[in-house]
Every structure is written in C-alpha cells, then in structure tokens.
Point group: D2
Chain length 443, copies 4
C-alpha cells in the first residue's frame, strides 16, 4: 500500500463516533497500515509501538508467516463463519495447541471457544465456576481488570468503569503487596475458617498474575503458591485471567508457569490469534466440563480465520524456546535500564516493576506520566499508561522486537522523562504524596 | 483449495472441546470451505445452507467483492489490531454507513463500535440506557434472545441458558400475540400508570421485531407503533436488537423500517461485516451519547478487517434496492409454499410465520421437527430449529440465493416432511397438544 | 383515666419525630385511651374508629377479656422477655391455636413465631420457601403489599415505597381482575410451560386474598382455586399473606377458607394478639419445616404478653361461630348500603367491593376521596384510604361493632360524600378518567 | 402467681413449633415467671440469669417501677395500637428521651420509631443511608450481627444464617483486632483513595462497638475515633448498631460515648422498653431526615405500652449516674475475676475481653464452652455462648444485679470450668489450635 491519498480529519470521528472512544484521544493520528513494531498513519509516518494493542499483537503487527497463512486460507474460500460447527481449521488449531502448548507442560485441559472477546471468556469462566461449585460468590482482587460486561465489570476494580447495576456477588481481596503489613493469604484463610467472617465460601478466585490495567502489579511466586495451596485445601477454583499476561508476555507462554501451579481454569484472548483477530479460549480441567450442549453459546465462537493464524503462531513461535529466550534477554535490557533511571530520578519515580516485557514505571505524579507519554507521541512513539490514576508508564513492546529497536525506544522515553522532570517543580514528590495519602487522622 | 487430504475424526472434538458445543451436534460433518449458499466438508461434499450461520452470513459465504477487498487489505499490511484508535478503514466505514444507510433513511445516530459480539453490544446498550435514565429496570419480552453474558442473559428468555446469578433487574412482558386476549400494550400501560403495579419505571425496553431463537415470532406493525408511542409518552428508551433480524433479513436493512419508527438505540452485529467476521455496532440518538471516555471499552473494538468487508458489503448490496426487491420476491416464493404445506399437513403444522427470508414452520411435535431437520441433513442440507422446545423449523437461506436454489431447498424440506409425517402416528397432534397444554384445572 | 391534663402540641412531633410518620398527618389529634370502637384524644373527645389500626385491632380496642388476662399475667410477674425459650404462655397459646383454629379446619401446620412484625413474617416465609425449593424467584402480584424490609419491599407493589436496592428476584403477575381480557391463570400457565418465557420457575407465589393497601381488591374463589391447582401441578408453594385479611376480617378466621384451599404457608400478624401487641406467626406444612436450629431468629420472637392475649382472643371469639355470624350480618348491612350509594353517585363512584368487614369504595377522583375522609375526621370519625393513588375509601370497623354503631358510621360517611360530591364539578368523572387512562391504542 | 399446676412436656414444642427454635434447645425448661435476676420454671425452680435475654432486659426481669406504670396504663385503657398516630404515651417518651438522654449528651437527633425489632431498625437505617447518599454499597464488618431480614442478613457475618439470595451490596472489612498486622483503618483508607480498589464508595458503615453475637469483640476508642475521622473526610455515614451494646450494657447509655464520637445514625432496640417489649428507635442527625411521609412504615410502629415502660425506665435509671457507677463497679468485679481464671487456665482460655457488663471468655475449644454452659444450666444458671463457633462464654447479667449475686454466679461458672477442664485432655489447646489454624505459610 503506497501513501494513501485519503486525508481524513479527526472531526469525522468526533462527529459520528461515540464519546466512549478512548485510546484515540491519547494517540490522535489516523492509522493506515502496520508491520512489526511500527504503525503507519495515513501520511505514512512511522510510529514505534510500545503498546502492542494492550497485548493483542505480541508478535508484532501483521507477522508475515501468519499473514501468508491467512491470505492463503481466504483465497481458497476457507470457511469463515462456522458457529461452533466442526471445521478443518478448528481441528488443526486444537491439534497444534494440544501438541505444542499443553502436552509439553503436562497440562490437561479441555478447550471452550467462547465468544471472541476477553470479557466473554471471563463471563463464561465465572458462569461455569458458579455452576460446578453451586456457589455464587467469587473473589477478585484490588486493581483487577477483567472486562466490561456485567459480571466481568463486577470483578473489575476500576470505579470509573463500574456502574451501580453490576453483578454484586464479588468479594474483594487485596492483591499481593497492596498494603504494608497486610498478608492477603493469611487474611483470606482467616475469612475462610471464621464461620462468621461474612464471606460466603466462594466458587472461585480470579486473578491476573501481573495486573495490566491495574498498573503492572506483580504477584510473587510464593504468593501464588500459597494462594493455590489455600484454595485447594478449601475446594475453591483458581481462575487465571491470562488475557493480557499470557501468550508469552512474561516470557513463558502462560504467565503462571514460573510458579509451578496448575489453575483450574485459564482465560486466553488478545494475542492468541497472533494477528489481532478477535478470538478467545477458555481452558479448564476436564472434571469441570459440566456444560450442557448450547448452555453457553454465541455466533462468533468459530472465528475460523483466527484458528488459522493462531495455529501458525503456535507453530512459528512456540515450537522451541527461541522466543522465550529472546524475551528474557530483552527483559534484562529493560530491567537494567529501569534500575538506572530509578536511581537517576528518585524524586519522581516511586517504583519500577514487571515481568518479561510487561514492565511499568510508577511515578508519584499522574500529570507527569501523562506529559511524558505525550512527549513520546510527539516523538512518534506510542506508550500508554495504567494504574488507578494512570500514574504508571507501561512498557509493552512487541515480544519480537530487535534489541536495538528496544533500546532506541527506551532512549526516547528517557529523553521525554528528562525533559518533563526538568520542567517539574523540585518538590513534586512530597506535595503529591500528601495529596494522595491524606491520612494521619487520630492515631 | 482442492479436496483436503485431512481426515479429522469427530472424536477429536469430543475429546478436546468443551461439551458446551452445540450446532456441531446437529450437523456432524467437518467443514472446510464455503461459497455462496454452500458449505463443503473435508471430503468436498457440498451442503445447501438454509441456516446462514444464524444470520451471520446474509450475503452468502465468502462473497467475492468482500473477499477481494479483504485480501487486498491484508496484502497491503492494512492495520489489523487498532483498539479504538482512528484508522482509515474505520473512517471509510463510518462514511459509507452514514451515506448509504443512515442519511437516506433520515436517521440521526451516533455509532459506538462495541466489543465485536452480539452479547456485548446488548450489554453496552443496557449499560448506557441505565446510565442516561438513572433507572435500573429494563423490560424484555417472552421468548426474547439477547445473548449469554450476565446482563444479556437476564434479558434472554430461555430457561436452559439462564442461571441463578444473572442480572435480575428485568421486567418480563408478553410479546405480541403471546396469549389470546392479552393486549401487551394495554397491560404495559396499566403497569406504568398504576402507581402500585410493582413495575419500577424502566430505563428501556429491548426487543427483536422478529424473534429468531424464540421461534420466528413476528411483531406486527401496529403493535410496534403502539409500543413506540407508549414509550415516548412515558420517557422510556426503545432499543431494537437487530442483530439477527437486521442487515436485510426482513427485506429492508433495518427490520423496524416497515413500521416507520425510530428507536432510541439499535444493536447490530452478525451480518454487519458481511463476511462472518466478529463485529458489532451500537447506534443511538446523539442525546444519549453520555459515555465518558473509556467508560465502555474492549480490545477488539477496532476489528479493522471487519470495517473493510462491511464497507464493501454496504457499497455492493445497499446502494440501491436491487437486493431488497430480490428478498421480497423470494419471500413470496417461500410464503406461497408455506401456505400450501400448511394446507397439506394441518395435523402436524401449527403455524407458519415470518418476514422476509426469516420464516418458520411451527410443528405440534418437537420430535418431528428434529426428525425432519435430520432428514434434510442426510440430504446434504442444513436447516436449524428454534423455539422454546425447538419445535419451529427455521428457513434462513442466504439473501442472495437464486430462486431455483431456493425452490430446490424447499423441495428437500417438503420431501423430508412427507417422509416424517407419513411415519408418524396419525394422532400426533391431539396427543402432543394434551401433553404440552396440560391446563384445564379447576375452571 | 380521667381527662388528661396533658396538652401536647402537634409541633412536638414534627420537631422531634422523623418525617416518615404518616397516619398522624391524616388524623391530627393526640390520642390517649381507647375502648371498643372508639379512640379518645387528650381532651377526651371520642372518635369512631373505622380503620381498626389497619386491621390490628379486629376485636376493638382493649377488649375486656384480653385486658383482664394481660393485667393478671403482668401482675403475677409472668415472664415477659423469653427469646424463643419454652414458656407456659407459649405452651398455652400453641394448645389453643391447635385446638380452636387448626384442628376444626383439618389444617396441619407447624408454627414459627417469627419476629413480631408483618414484614418479618413475610421475610421468613420467603427465606424458607427459597431454601426448601432451592429456587430464588418468587411471584408477587400487582398492588400487593407485604411490608417494608428488603425482601418484603421487593414483593410490595407500591412505587413510592420501593427503592432501587431491593430484592429483585420477584416476578410480577396481574392480580385477579387487573385488566379486562387478561386471564392471569392462563398467562401464568403459559409462562410456566413455555421454556423460553423468561420466568424462572418460582419457589413460591405470595398473595393476599383481599389486597388491603392495594385498594380492597378481591380475588374470587374460582381464581384462587385455579391458582392453587396450577401451583400444585408445577410444585410451587402457595403463601397466603393473611396479615390484614386474616383473623376474621373476611368473616372466617382465615381469609382463604371460603375457597377450600390449603396454602403451603400462611403469614399472620396484626390482630393475632387481639390487643394490638406486636406478634407474628408463620404457619407451614410440616414437610417445609427444614430450618436448622437458629437459622432464622430474633430477640422478640417470644413476645409472651402477646401469647397471653392471643390465647384469650381465640378462646373468647373463636370457640364457636358467634363472631363469624355477626360479621356476615354486618357485611350484609354494609354491602346493601354500598349498592345504594353506588346507585346514588354513579358519576363519582367507580366501584364498590370487598369481603366481610373489609370493604372499599373506589372513587374516580383521589382528591374527592381525600376530602371525604377529611370531612369524616371533622365529624370525629376515622376512615382511611387505600389504592395506588389513595382513591379507595376503606371501611374497616371493629368486627365486634354493634349494628347501630356501624349504621351511624355509614351515615357520617354518606353525609360526607353528599357534601363533597355536591361541591365537586359535575364533569368530574369524565375528566378524571381521561387523565387516568390516557390509553386508546395507536396515537 | 403460685406454683403452676401446668406441666407442659417439652414434646409439645418439638411437635408443633418450627425447628428454627434455638435458645430453648440449650435451656430445656418451661419458664413461667421472672423477676430481677431470676427466671422461674413451671415448677417454680429459680434460675440465675446471666444472659438477660441477649440484652433485652438490662434492668432485670419485670422491674417494679416499669411494671406498675404498665399495669396502670392498661387498667386505664391507655391506647395500645396506634399505628404512627400521635399519642400521649409517645409524646411523653419523646420528651423524656430528649431531656434525659439526648440533651445532657449534647446529641441532636431526630427519632424514627421503626418496626419494633432489631432487624427492622437496621433495615430502615440502611434504606435511609442509601437514599440520602444515593449510593448502594454499605460497609459491614467481620463477625458483625445485625439481624435476619434480607438487608440485615447481608450485613450479618454468620455463614449459617446467610442465604444465597441476600442483599449483596455489602463490602466486608475486618473488625478491630481481626488479624495481627492488619490495620483496618489504613486498609479502608487505601480502598477509598485507590480509584481501582474495587470498592464502590459506600453510603454508610455500620458496626457494633462491641460485637455481641460475634464473640464479645471490642473496638478500641482509638480505632473508633480513626474510623469516624476517616468517614467524615470521605462523606460516608457512620451507623452504630447499639441494639445489644446500648441502653447501658457498657456502662454508659450509648456504647460509643466513651469514644467521644457522634454517629450519623444510631439503632436502638432490645432493652429500650426496659421490659422486654418489642420496641425500636432509629436516631439520625436532622439533615438525614429525608423520608417522604409513609416511605418507611409498619403497623406496630406505635407500640404504646413500650413507650410507657421505656419512659419509666429512663426516669428511673438514667436521671443520674447511679446505675452507671454500679455497672462500672460490677465490671471491675468481673474483670478481676476474668484475669484470675485466665491465669489459672492458660491452656484452655484463649482470651477474656469486654466492656461494662458485656464480657466474654474465649476458649480454645467450642466443645468445652458448650459443656461448661451445660454444667451451669444443671446448676440452675443460664449462660449463653457466642462467637463464630460458639467458643465464647458470654457474661451478661442484669445491669442492676447486686454484687453478691454477681459473685455467686461467677463462682458457679468457675466451678463448672474447673470440672470441665479437669476432665478434658491436657493437650486440648495445642490440638485444637492445629485444627483451627491449619495454615502455616507456604506449603
């Protein structure tokens, strides 16, 4: 595609599209094509992508092997819409997922192809958990994000997204490290064993091992293991929402592999198709496959093109550990850089944290975080923020990013920080902290 | 694509895929490619499609103009995953939808690209309606189907799908013609004006003008007009779920056009992309666009490939009334045939009904309906059932079906009926009726 | 007690008591003592009582045999607060209720002494029904009133009382005669047998056989019998809320006796103690007694004084049919008078209706109804209104009222009507009707 | 009353009364009369009462001044049932409560006479809080008990009492001292200030300053003050449920006086009438009196007899600090004894705690707690247990108990402990602890 002759004005969108639109406000360009780590706008300007569509294109934009497979499939009139009927494309995906992902990890899961969105796979997981355990309550965590349909929204922590009429049968617990001195697992155990704790025994616990929208909060290996052991003692299901943290984002295919646990259910979506196509997969241990035929259903549950690209992605990226090793190497690059900038800017940076290529820089000031990402955008780089006040700069490049491109991106980000911090008042930290933590009270 | 050398066994699916799968149980083949009105299995057997993926491929499978546009877009590395950022593909779709669909019908709607499933667009509509009206209650109808996430499931009538923990803030009213002597609109008005009726004033009413899954139940023009007038008098939003009945299925683009009403919100999905790609669009009057930025969000809200095929579909099928006229002509063919078979088999057929190429044959016996569609499948034709006990045979061919193909399909169906009815006991009607309507009681 | 020297101003109450207070606004006097059909204010003015504390003092105020029993009990230091421990007073009540009420009617019920309010006995009934049937949904009727705690409020029809956060697991059905042409039982049966009706199979149906607050709406014998038969066929519990209509108000002890049905549960309160003491009793068939010890509990469940007066009431009023015969005779007096005034004022009176000494006059104009009861108050008579707009004048004298006192009261009411109607515009009926029933099909 | 000739068998109750009955199972006698600290059974055996009807007869059974006032009122035909109409009895109570209780404490509250049960006053408080703040969420605490109607049950912690269908809009927080290292106020503040905490801003927080049913858990002065300050900073209502801890149980009339805080709402019931009569009172700051007339209502909201005895109780016990000083002296007697027995039996007693005459002994073994109270019952003394496993022996004598009677009761209890502990295995503590706290970090 050559440079487009189109020249769409931004007002076209504000005139006709709902005010719910969001990312486009932070990145006000009109994009046209994409390849690898770069997006191109309608005037063919290139933008370095450190967002990866919130984790939906982990292997970069339009990876060639997947693109070739998809075009060949379309050209041959491969069946596209198939509901949940059997198709060759589905059979091939099932076989590949089983052979390449599940068996080597000694995981025994059945696969449910739910409606092809993250929120839908979460809805299906919770519905199934409530059914098989015949309990209504579900535990979710502070700063969790699980989607925006009713039940998923009930699990999601963000107050701006939630509404009054959401599914209220959720018990909220503090995530790992939420508050000094608060041991979530000990608290949870007390609530479970105390017959008057006010917590109904939950059907399931759902969590992200790294909270993406919540601000790149990381659950430790030990915490996950203690949680898993507790749940097993109390016959409660563990659901890992691996929609953003899975598909290699933390280095392994599943984000929970490092802890050696086997969740009862796993939610996958986003990068599962490898090509940005809507696609979702719910994995669960065979004993939980208690659905009646058609009890959970939806038109687009056989998104056949996604089967094709997903299979190609598995075969191309996960047959051996080449990609994993690349990710861990790049993680080292990022982590070393994070430590350096944290030392450089201790008055502005509260914490850096992450796993794999899922890293965050928490600033004391949300305003500065916004300024920095705007500065990056001016430098033709796309970086997003996360956290309850968007105070965390999110580093999520393509997992396949070459090291020099990665470093180039980090340099843009570092320069943006230098500029913004140098303009900021020296006292920003103390002032901001006071505003944020107005506690003290009568103590 | 030549005949595949693959030879997948059905056990692959039962071994690894969740028992929730449903359509594949009625149509136990492994499909490979598709074109127009035909599906082809892995051995290249052709199957005449009278289901059209429950309305997701109204223009037939893989229509050539759409396929060409899609392949060209992919080949040029057109951006695929874009979140809700601006893209050239989106700009072009917005322009086309506005020019070809909205303006000629004098409709003034803003567009929200919700998560790309039917259930998600319904969730977004209800969430918005509750917000703008600051009321929780929503009215839905007997036999309505609106999807399977929590809120949508609360609106859906089917007992097998619903679960205990669903959104309960729904007031159920009888659909047009639900019971002799019951005038829904008069009853609704009484409930609204009676201060002690027990119905909280609803934020919105949601309905399908033709209920698909519910059994091809048809709301009359007068009923829709009376309902609309009542809602306007009481400041209640009208939401038309046009996911299955829209995109031409009843002859016009929107199913409500014939009644001359302008709903406050319209839910579109299924055939909107024209290619079976996951895609959804919520339309609402500009005054209801009260979303905060990002208040309703999701990863796949910019399914760019779908923008491309959807735009091609609008340009190819809706620039003039050729397709509409074709649909109305085929409707006549079907209706005339329905009247004839109803006269032939009065002891087995309870009612025939429908609009456009959305027609149904309600049998007294669900078992016979099942047998007939199985007989059709044996004759390499795909016909599905609907209704609360799957007692309605659903006639939903491609809107672009040639008349001779249509007639050929009807003949297969008629022969299947002849065979099944001739084998059935002569008293089937009376017996079945007694079982189904065990009323009488103390009267 | 001689004429009190107290002289309390009404402002004492408005200054210190919550604005939730209600009856005192319609009857702005300060009452001091009461006896039989009369209340006496602080200046010893006598007021004829046609309200009977909304049915809480069916045998008149402070009936002597009950008063004597209560004073004797108190004087002997009879145990007052007893939680749900065994007491002689409870044993004597249980014995009397069993012997005098249940056995002669061939009713086999266990007794649960719930918290001593109407709303609490309803809460307990619904809680138990949901438990034993393991279903959440409950059917309640238009214009039903069952109390003001959360679950009871969910069942109650009145919009002014309900709030957003109430128990929403209620399916509302139209009461007998709610709308011309709407056969509730047929509609209900369709909803139960239609698998996609959107009504979850309910645990129970709760109703008043005569709706008090709802406007003295009367369920017919046939309707109750058909409902009961339908529920039995579908394994759904029938709960009669006999809080207002029971304890003789309709002539028999239970309001449902005339229909020959045996509900699964019966809620009693109000006049059960016979002396206006807080007291409630839930009856249920023995097979539903599935409570765990202490699963439903409350401090005042052994209101021992109420056991004492309730036992005295049973022995004094229900050992034979003297009271019943008296009620039916007075009913005749009232009904004959109602027919006459309806003939006299056809332009103002829409309908008269009732059972026993539970009668209502529905006016076209709520304003006139208010005026009439105010005129009665000025004539030292207490008459209340009911209905969704307080348009129904409620005739609820003591069941023990002498015939001449009853007639005297009716004459006061009739003169109030004459006065108010003569002052009202001649066109009141037509005008009001238009406002109230703005229907009329397509507009 | 002389020794009764009645001789009721316990089977009368098991045959006819619901299995929900509870206290009677622990105290299997048939009581007849009561006076001061003693109950008398049908054979006139005297039982020393260390339970005081769970706090409903704080001034002892049938206190003479109240009894005299009540009998005089009844003898004079004082109005009994009055709905919420004005009465002289109500006027006198309002005046007394204002003069004796509110004004000296500089408290400015309006009074709502809710339905006369604890659960109803809680329902009214929450309903009003949700209305005035236009928020649904309410915070309640671990081990809280607030009653058994739907909303109250949602607030109540005990799992055996709760059911699936309860009001779920409750956020549960750990009570003061719930877990070592967990600072509830800091956690609560984090949840409030973290925009993604998953806690909707609550309308109100409801708590008992000493949790009765929860196991005599005591909130500290500092904790209450910090909580109050936090709620004020965040515009959230503080509701004190003083149903069990109020009316002098902790030494002052209100249990929160010692902390110097002024809650937004206070729930009173149980001992408010002073005579065990059903009676409840909701106090709230005048600005929250936003009820519409009749928006919250109930038949027994004018329990006039209770006004009479409650006024007598205020005048007799609260005109000066005689009773308070007596309570504090007896508290010292109990606390000193508790410290001694704790030193004597460190292997059996986990903790002793309480305020005023509201004291508890937590044992390691619930079985031993049961045995001990059974032993007391055999010695003609009534002592109850509390806590999530009934492991806490509850010491709640009459507030007016003479010191020698108190000591006599403590001696009975001490002997029961000696006996039961001497029979118990020496290793009870360690063994039990292991079972109860099967934790132990990472496993």
């Amino acid at each position: 595609m050559t440079v487009s002759e189109n020249n769409f004005a931004l007002t076209l969108f504000s005139d006709y599209e709902s005010s719910a639109r969001s990312y486009c406000r932070n990145f006000p360009a009109v994009f046209h094509r994409a390849s690898g780590c770069y997006l191109y706008d309608q005037h063919d300007n290139a933008w370095l992508d450190f967002l990866s569509c919130a984790g939906a294109v982990n292997y970069g934009h339009n990876p060639v092997p997947l693109k070739d497979a998809l075009i060949a499939y379309l050209a041959a009139d491969g069946i596209q819409a198939a509901l949940d009927m059997h198709s060759v494309a589905k059979a091939e995906f099932i076989t590949a997922f089983n052979t390449i992902i599940l068996q080597p990890r000694k995981l025994d899961y059945k696969m449910q192809f739910t409606s092809p969105t993250g929120t839908s796979v979460v809805e299906s997981a919770i519905k199934l958990a409530r059914k098989v355990k015949n309990r209504t309550n579900v535990v979710a965590f502070t700063n969790g994000f699980h989607g925006m349909s009713n039940t998923a929204l009930g699990l999601t922590g963000n107050r701006d997204n939630r509404q009054n009429a959401v599914d209220a049968h959720v018990f909220r617990l503090p995530y790992d490290g939420y508050l000094d001195g608060l041991d979530t697992i000990a608290y949870f155990e007390k609530l479970l064993t105390d017959n008057s704790s006010g917590m109904d025994i939950p059907a399931a616990v759902i969590l992200e091992t790294v909270q993406g929208e919540g601000g790149i909060n990381v659950a430790s290996k030990t915490w996950l293991q203690r949680l898993h052991a507790l749940l097993q003692r109390h016959d409660i299901l563990l659901i890992i929402d691996d929609i953003q943290a899975g598909c290699g984002r933390t280095g392994h295919f599943f984000s929970f592999e490092f802890a050696g646990i086997q969740p009862d259910m796993v939610c996958l979506s986003k990068s599962l198709s490898g090509y940005g196509l809507p696609f979702s997969l719910l994995l669960f241990k065979p004993q939980w496959d208690q659905w009646n035929p058609g009890e959970d259903n939806g038109t687009f549950r056989g998104n056949t093109s996604a089967f094709v690209t997903a299979k190609a992605a598995l075969e191309h990226y996960w047959r051996d550990d080449t990609l994993s090793l690349h990710i861990f190497r790049q993680e080292q690059v990022v982590v070393q850089w994070l430590e350096e900038i944290k030392l450089r800017f201790p008055h502005f940076i509260k914490q850096t944290r992450g796993r794999g290529l899922f890293q965050g820089i928490e600033l004391y000031s949300p305003e500065l975080a916004k300024k920095i990402t705007q500065r990056c955008f001016a430098e033709k780089m796309i970086v997003e923020r996360a956290g309850d006040r968007d105070q965390v700069i999110k580093i999520m490049p393509s997992l396949t990013i070459p090291e020099d491109t990665l470093v180039a991106g980090l340099m843009i980000l570092e320069r943006a920080m230098e500029d913004c911090f140098s303009e900021a008042p020296a006292t920003s930290q103390a002032v901001t902290q006071d505003i944020l933590c107005p506690t003290g009270g009568v103590q």
